[in-house]
Amino acid sequence: MKIVVCIKQVPDTKGGVKFNPDGTLDRAAMLTIMNPDDKAGLEAALRLKDEYGAEVTVVTMGLPKAEEVLREAMAMGADKGILVTDRVLGGADTWATSTTIAGAIRNLDYDLIITGRQAIDGDTAQVGPQISEHLGIPVISYAQDIKVEGDYVIVNRQYEDRHHILKAKMPCLVTALSELNVPRYMTPGGIFDAYDADITVWGRKDLKDVDDSDLGLAGSPTKIAKASDKVRKGAGEKVALETDEAVDYIMGKLLEKHVI
């Protein structure tokens, strides 16, 4: 079985968020991590590899420094890493991103594509399903469990107050929730191997069946009007009351605001 996992390097929420003048994120200036949903997707792929045997290829689109996240994935057990990077791809929204990644994946053999549900920076949950549309394959989103049975994948999909069990013939795409599993750690030897391994680097010319008008900032229908860091909360209200009165006061406020 061949599994492609799409991963993204995202800002570490422990560090500060920084923006470019055009409102897009200044990724080079921020501390980064592997997007948590993507990491769960990678873990799911590695578990399928452990159980059934599979070749796991990780793909990311980003700045050259995004190779770090590929090496991290390889240190966890992924077999190959592909970095899609090119100046003309910068500033992409979900449409341009999914077009780019689909263009890269068309060069690969795959039975299953796993993406995270959504990235903690953009929070759109659009890229995974859009990739499947571009490639003309089925998608099952919000996976909280993934099994393989012959040519089929059986997915438990989280759905508000219930769950669905869906079966799809491969090739197909599944989007993973971070609740899917607890990702494994890297191993020290895995890290050394990952840094000895070659990362495949693809640019615009390596993308298959894509149109320039669908790429990068220019190919992005989404225009950001304004972006800013979180607005600081006000000082709030301070009251000095005895414990019993304080409890009543807080309960009153919560009722007043319809919190309870």
């Binding site: 770090e68 090496r71 991290e72 240190a75 494994r184 750690y185 890297m186 191993t187 020290p188 030897g189 895995g190 890290i191 050394f192 990952a194 840094y195």
Partner: protein, 389 residues
């Protein structure tokens, strides 16, 4: 000369740090309080290859360099010195000498499971009458047909009862030197747990590193195969000394980690603790103490990392010695650990003396780093011996 870590070392550090924070730190206080060996943590470390970091891949290890191993012990010790020494004793004192001196068959049989973490290792040199003075060793091994017969006892053995494979130093011959004085000649042996005649004595109740299993080992007509001689007959002393050179880098890393952990806690605490209407970190006394602690830790780190890199040079070319670097690293890092943790407790005031606060444990843990695997005095002997030779 470049003092920045390579990207792969940075990634390894982030791995060890995340593992230590998530899997080790939550149990550190309980491990100390209950004096229970943290078997579950060791099982997790085994799963991720932490028990064979500097061992070659060919023998089931991770194939990393000594610096990576040192950073692992350092990060573990930042949150739990017990966990740090378990890895250090296992790797430096048991797996490493088998990698260096073992025959292909010994490596296959013993090094592979050690490097994979399936088996835990320990090392026995110290005896009630012999620590620094090796000639005091009373444990004796006599060749009887195809077997060595061991008699004697070892004390203060780290990973004592929980280990599966032990490197034991015993004397095998007595020779006369030029002046007619009798000298014991030592040899090193690999002994498996469960060998008839090999049993455990009392468990030591310690001041610090209380979760580490420290036991007396007893050998009563313990018969082991002839092939379990490690290295050449009569070469046990240089093997033990060389093994301890490596072990000292591990302990230096443990000491460094303890000091770093204590500084981290103290920086947090002094920012939070308010006296006279402001946080105590606003007091110049606090600031100067913290500055000194941080500076000494940085100096210790340079010595520890340098020793690790010198050991890597040794692995590439056995003519290189890292004995002095290891001694300096351990001497300095251990003394810094003791000084930093003592100041950390002082800056915590009364709370620093209470078990609920990590620095109380760290100060107790730090003391052993000045004692085991060669006291600070022994390190000074090694360093000055090299200067005055």
């Amino acid at each position: 000369m470049d003092f920045t870590l390579s990207k792969k070392h940075e990634m390894a550090r982030s791995l060890f740090k995340e593992f230590a924070e998530t899997e080790v730190k939550p149990y550190a206080q309980e491990t100390d309080e209950t004096e229970q060996f943290p078997a579950e943590t060791v099982a997790k470390m085994q799963k991720y290859g932490f028990m064979g970091i500097p061992i070659e891949k060919e023998f089931g290890g991770q194939g990393c360099d000594p610096l990576t191993y040192v950073m692992c012990v350092e990060e573990l010790s930042k949150v739990c010195a017990t966990t740090g020494v378990i890895v250090s004793a296992h790797t430096s004192l048991c797996a490493d000498p088998i990698q260096t001196y073992g025959t292909p068959a010994q490596k296959e049989k013993y090094l592979v499971p050690l490097a994979k973490g399936e088996k835990l290792g320990a090392f026995g040199l110290t005896e009630p009458g012999a620590g620094t003075d090796a000639q005091g060793v009373q444990t004796k091994a006599v060749l009887d047909g195809d077997e060595w017969v061991l008699n004697g006892s070892k004390c203060f053995i780290t990973n004592g009862k929980v280990a599966d494979i032990y490197i034991i130093i015993a004397y095998t011959d007595i020779v006369e030197d030029k002046r007619g004085r009798k000298q014991k000649k030592f040899s090193a042996f690999i002994v498996e747990k469960g060998t008839p005649g090999f049993s455990f004595g009392t468990k030591e109740k310690k001041m610090g590193i209380r979760g580490s299993s420290t036991y007396e080992l007893i050998f009563e007509d313990c018969r082991i195969p002839k092939d379990n001689l490690l290295g050449a007959r009569g070469k046990g002393f240089p093997i033990a000394m060389h093994t301890l050179d490596g072990g000292r880098i591990g302990i230096a890393a443990q000491a460094l980690g303890i000091a770093e952990g204590a500084l981290e806690r103290t920086v947090e605490y002094t920012k939070e603790r308010k006296q006279f209407g402001r946080s105590i970190s606003a007091q110049q006394n606090t600031q100067f103490l913290l500055a000194d602690m941080a500076t000494k830790i940085e100096a210790a780190k340079m010595l520890v990392y340098k020793a690790a890199m010198k050991k890597a040079q040794y692995q590439a070319d056995h003519k290189t010695s890292y004995s002095v670097e290891a001694a300096m690293a351990k001497l300095y890092a251990a003394e810094v650990a003791m000084e930093v943790t003592t100041k950390a407790v002082q800056l915590h005031g009364g709370y620093g003396y209470i078990r609920e606060y990590d620095v109380e444990r760290m100060m107790r843990d730090a003391k052993i780093t000045e004692i085991y695997e060669g006291t600070s005095e022994v390190q000074r002997m090694v360093i000055s011996g090299n200067l005055l030779k």
